[in-house]
Symmetry: C2
Subunit: 226 residues, 2 copies
C-alpha cells in the first residue's frame, strides 16, 4: 500500500473520516506524515492499526481509554510475551464502575478476594498473587453472593476446566508465532476477541441447550423439531 490521504484511508478501513480524526486526536492512531499545511498521508501501518482499533472497540467493547491502554502495550517491543499478556489483561479487566473508592476496605470483598485465591490454589494453577484477574474473580464471587447465587461459586472448577481448554490452545497459538512483532497483536487480539468469541458461543450454546430443555414441545426450536 502506497501512502494515501485520509479519504482513501477511510475507504480502505471502512471507518468514517470524523471517526479517524477523533482517533488521531485521542492518540489511538499515530499522526500521518505532513505533506502540506492541512494535509497528511497515511500508510499500511495506519490501516492495520485502524482495523485493530475497530476490532477492540466494536467487538471487544473496549472504551477509548481501555483501547489506548491496550495499544500502548503494543508499542513496547522490549516486553516478554508473558509480561505482555499480563499488561493486556490489566487493560481489558472489568472493574466495578460505581464501586467504593477502596474495595479492600470492604470486609465482604476482602473475604471474596481470599476465597478467589483459594479457589485458584485448589485448581493447582500458577498465578501471581497480585494478578488483577484475582481481584476481578473476587468481584464476581462477591456479586454472586449478593444476588443470592453462591451456588454458582461452587461451579468454579467447571468454568475453570472449560476456560483452561481454550486458554491452552490460545497461549500455544501466541507462543508459536515466529514474529515478535505479531506476537504482540496475537496476544492482544486473542485476549479481547477470544473473550468475545467464547462469550458469543456460550450464548448460542445456551440457546441450543435451552431449546432442548426449556421450550414447550409445540414451539419452534423445541427438542423434537429436527
Amino acid at each position: 500500500m502506497v501512502r494515501v490521504r485520509i479519504a482513501e484511508l477511510s475507504r480502505y478501513s471502512d471507518v468514517t473520516i470524523p471517526t479517524i480524526k477523533y482517533y488521531l486526536r485521542e492518540g489511538l492512531l499515530p499522526p500521518g506524515e505532513l505533506t502540506g499545511r492541512n494535509q497528511a498521508t497515511y500508510d499500511k501501518r495506519h490501516l492495520e492499526r485502524l482495523r485493530l482499533i475497530r476490532a477492540l472497540r466494536e467487538v471487544g467493547g473496549l472504551s477509548v481509554s481501555a483501547t489506548r491502554e491496550v495499544l500502548a502495550v503494543l508499542d513496547q517491543p522490549e516486553i516478554t510475551a508473558h509480561e505482555l499478556m499480563g499488561r493486556a489483561h490489566r487493560a481489558v479487566r472489568r472493574r466495578p464502575v460505581d464501586a467504593p473508592a477502596d474495595p479492600a476496605a470492604d470486609h465482604d470483598w476482602t473475604r471474596a478476594r481470599t476465597d478467589a485465591a483459594e479457589q485458584i490454589r485448589l485448581l493447582g494453577w500458577t498465578v501471581d498473587p497480585d494478578a488483577p484477574a484475582l481481584d476481578q474473580l473476587a468481584d464476581v464471587i462477591l456479586a454472586l453472593r449478593r444476588v443470592g447465587r453462591a451456588d454458582i461459586i461452587e461451579a468454579i472448577p467447571q468454568y475453570a476446566e472449560a476456560a483452561l481448554s481454550v486458554a491452552q490452545w490460545e497461549v500455544r497459538l501466541a507462543a508459536a508465532d515466529p514474529d515478535p512483532a505479531t506476537v504482540l497483536t496475537t496476544v492482544v487480539t486473542g485476549t479481547v476477541l477470544g473473550e468475545a468469541l467464547l462469550a458469543t458461543v456460550r450464548l448460542l450454546a445456551h440457546e441450543h441447550v435451552s431449546a432442548r430443555l426449556l421450550a414447550p414441545p409445540d414451539q419452534p426450536g423445541a427438542a423434537g423439531r429436527d
Copy 2:
C-alpha cells in the same frame, strides 16, 4: 426487612444515596412508598433489585440502558424460561459501537453472517436463524478476518465445546429452579455473571498456562517454581 428510609437502604445495599436517586430517576429502581412530602420508604424488593443492578453494572459491565432492558425482562412474569433467555441475550449482546447504520448492507459482514450460521449448523446446534447471538458471532468472525486472525475462526469448534459444557450446567441450574419468580433472576444473573465468571477464569488460565509456556525459567511464575 421492615420499610426503611433511603439512608438505611443505602447502608444495607452499600450503594450511595446519590446513586440510588440516579437509579430511581432512570427507572431502574421502582419508586418507594411516599410517606410525606419529600420522604419515601423502601422494602426488601428494593434492596434485592438494588443488589441485582449493582451486580449487572459493576460485574457484568452493563450500561444503564442495557441494565434497564434486562430489568424490564424480569418484570414480565408471563414469559417462558426459553423466551426469557432469548430476551436476556438480546439485552446483554455486544454490538458494534461505531458500526455502519446498516451492517447487512456490508458485503463482508453478510458473508461473515452466512459463515456464522454454517459454523453452528456444522456443530449440529438448534439455534433460531434470527438469534442475535448469530449477528454477534458474525461481528467476531469479521473482526478476526480484518485483523488477520482467520486462524482463530478455525478453532470455533474448540470454543464451542468449552462453552457447551458450561452452558449445559447453567441451563440445568435455571431449569431446576422450582420458583418461577427466581427462574427469571437465575437466567439473567446467570447470563451476565456467568459470562463474567467464564471470562475471568479464562484470564487466570492464560496466566497459568503462559507462566509454564512463555516465562523465562528464572522469573517468578515460571514453570519450575513450585
